[in-house]
């Protein structure tokens, strides 16, 4: 192993080690000096995860979170210097991390938080004008074939747990009051998107999630609405469309070959 490889491996080693070939002006043992680098590397990565997963941190406590994040960072250090998006795979790590096995909702909560970060930094796109949508809704011939391009920030999460309610309960200074009323075992779906400069996270029902997912895949409006209704006859198309329009989620619209922005 060459000297650089040894240095790099010692930075992320679980136990404090010091690579060979280091010297100090006063002959002091280099371990303590090398530990400054070890510390900077892991603290920086743990801080990045703490910034991106603040509710996950609150749910397990700061000390536990930092220990868990350090484990993850050592096993899965970033591959890119763009740390704003570091945290891919953290939810899967949590899912398989025995000490939090009892918190079955924690991994999905981390997924939701990663989506929030991704939405925050996603590309910008202007929304289709509301009047264009209104005109389309009046055009019974064109409507079923219309295809939408969703805003690049749009993310969907379908969870077996009430992770959106859990997340929302931690957005105020005193989260404990509403926490007690959340049944974490009730399934929830989330729509995550950036509206202007703010990321919005809404609970949507399963049928709405199906509808939006199909639109996002570029499927025709009629097909998406039909599948949502098949999944749940109570699917409220008007309400779901209203949510998408209000939150600027519809970035482009194609009607039988023509594009209307």
């Amino acid at each position: 192993m060459n000297a650089r490889q040894a240095f790099a491996e010692a930075l992320l080693a679980a136990e404090p080690v010091c690579p060979p070939g280091l010297t100090t002006w006063n002959g002091s043992a280099p371990e303590k000096r090398f530990a400054v680098y070890r510390n900077t590397v892991t603290v920086g990565l743990v801080d990045a995860l703490a910034d991106s997963f603040p509710v996950t941190l609150q749910l397990v406590g700061e000390d536990f979170f930092r220990a868990m994040a350090r484990e993850f960072a050592r096993q899965t250090p970033p591959r890119s210097p763009v740390l704003a998006l570091y945290g891919d795979g953290f939810a899967e790590f949590i899912e398989a991390f025995p000490p939090v096995a009892a918190l079955s909702y924690l991994a999905d909560l981390a997924r939701l938080e990663l989506m929030r970060v991704q939405a925050w930094h996603a590309a910008d796109a202007a929304a289709v004008a509301a009047e264009t949508i209104v005109r389309l809704l009046d055009d019974a011939a064109a409507l079923p074939q219309a295809r939408f391009t969703l805003h690049p920030s749009v993310r969907l999460l379908r969870s077996r747990h009430a992770v959106v309610s859990l997340w929302a309960a931690h957005q105020s200074e005193a989260p404990s009051s509403s926490l007690a009323t959340i049944d974490t075992a009730s399934a929830e779906s989330a729509l995550v998107l950036r509206n202007g400069l703010e990321v919005e996270i809404s609970v949507i029902d399963e049928a709405a999630a199906i509808f939006i997912e199909l639109l996002q895949q570029g499927r025709a409006f009629g097909l998406a609405a039909g599948q949502a209704l098949d999944a749940d006859s109570r699917f409220d198309l008007a309400q779901t469309l209203g949510l998408l329009v209000r939150s600027g989620a519809l970035a482009d619209l194609t009607i039988s070959g023509s594009t209307t922005s």
């Binding site: 060459n2 000297a3 650089r4 490889q5 240095f7 790099a8 930075l11 992320l12 070939g21 280091l22 010297t23 100090t24 002006w25 006063n26 002959g27 002091s28 043992a29 280099p30 371990e31 303590k32 000096r33 090398f34 400054v36 680098y37 900077t40 590397v41 920086g44 990565l45 990045a48 250090p77 970033p78 591959r79 890119s80 210097p81 763009v82 740390l83 704003a84 998006l85 925050w120 930094h121 996603a122 590309a123 910008d124 796109a125 690049p152 920030s153 950036r194 400069l197």
Partner: protein, 304 residues
């Protein structure tokens, strides 16, 4: 003047392309906490500096605010992830991202570090030390050549803060940096705090360390605060934390450097324990007061 001078171009200047340089004033790092306040209050500050990697995202609030702030202020883009001192080839995708960012914001200055931060495809999230010998010198110069070719501009290279030295080193740091500057034609971002931290950490004289640097190539200065620790022998070990105000000893070394350099764009760096904006602006004003109080001899030399 040495033979080196004729290889040097004005900072940021590339033949056939007119590019402004940073003003001879103080600037501060642009922090997310302060974005709206800067737009609302339009503080009188020489320039802002960003870390390139923080803005390598597709869209959203960071670009929204930076676009507006850049319209009003000179900008320095400072990379922390290129790993110029790395053993691996430069990450071309990262260079592409840098090219996109520089093209979008047209900064007056671009700088990076004499350090490595990636190895074997893993990003290690720190500015790690490079041994100073012929092989690392050749590699660093090769990497800087590639950066300057790809980005079509001269870059500034920042001297590091280090905590250990290498048995394999055969050159003193200022000699290594001087040779990099001479061979690659890059400029020097003189981080006065790093000179101070490294001098204390390695038992050197900090003024001699400044004087030995290739001062004719300096295009910008960084000032920052450090944290204090001790090594295994109980000797002072300073940590380049960027989490405290600039120390008095570093202000002194800054005066010493400015006496040799003349007025110089100077950044107050703060990346941890970010204080309210006015606190950073006050530190920048202190740097500008020192710049204005330069002895007439130093100012004349700088102009000449």
């Amino acid at each position: 003047m040495t033979a080196r001078a004729d290889r040097l171009r004005p900072i940021g200047a590339v033949p056939g392309q007119k590019r402004r340089s940073l003003p001879e004033r103080a600037g501060i790092g642009l922090k997310p906490e302060h974005l709206q306040e800067i737009l609302d209050t339009a503080p009188d500050i020489g320039f802002f500096e960003i870390h390139a990697e923080n803005y390598m995202v597709d869209g959203g609030p960071f670009h929204h605010y930076l676009t507006r702030i850049r319209e009003r202020y000179p900008l320095s883009i400072h990379g922390v992830g290129l790993s110029i001192g790395g053993e691996d080839a430069l990450d071309e995708r990262h260079l592409d991202r840098l090219a996109v960012l520089l093209d979008r914001y047209q900064p007056e200055s671009f700088s990076e570090h004499l350090a490595w931060s990636s190895h074997g495809g893993t990003f290690l999230n720190d500015l790690l030390p490079v041994p100073y010998h012929a092989a690392t010198l050749a590699r660093v110069c090769e990497h800087i050549d590639r950066v300057q070719d790809r980005l079509k501009r001269r870059m500034l290279l920042e001297n590091p803060a280090t905590y250990v030295e290498f048995a394999a080193s055969t050159m003193a740091e200022p000699d290594f940096i001087g040779e990099v500057v001479r061979r690659s034609g890059c400029g020097l971002l003189l981080d006065v705090n790093n000179v101070y931290v490294s001098s204390i950490n390695h038992g050197r004289d900090q003024r001699a360390a400044v004087s030995a640097m290739p001062l004719a190539a300096v295009g910008q200065i960084h000032l920052a605060g450090f944290a204090e620790d001790t090594d295994a022998a109980g000797a002072s070990l300073l940590i380049d934390s960027h989490g405290a105000p600039v120390a008095e000893a570093v202000w002194d070394l800054y005066r010493y450097a400015l006496d040799r350099l003349g007025p110089m764009p100077t950044l107050i760096e703060r990346d941890n324990d970010i204080p309210p904006l006015p606190v950073l602006l006050a530190e920048a004003q202190q740097a500008e007061r020192i710049m204005k109080r330069l002895s007439p001899i130093a100012s004349r030399e700088a102009v000449a």
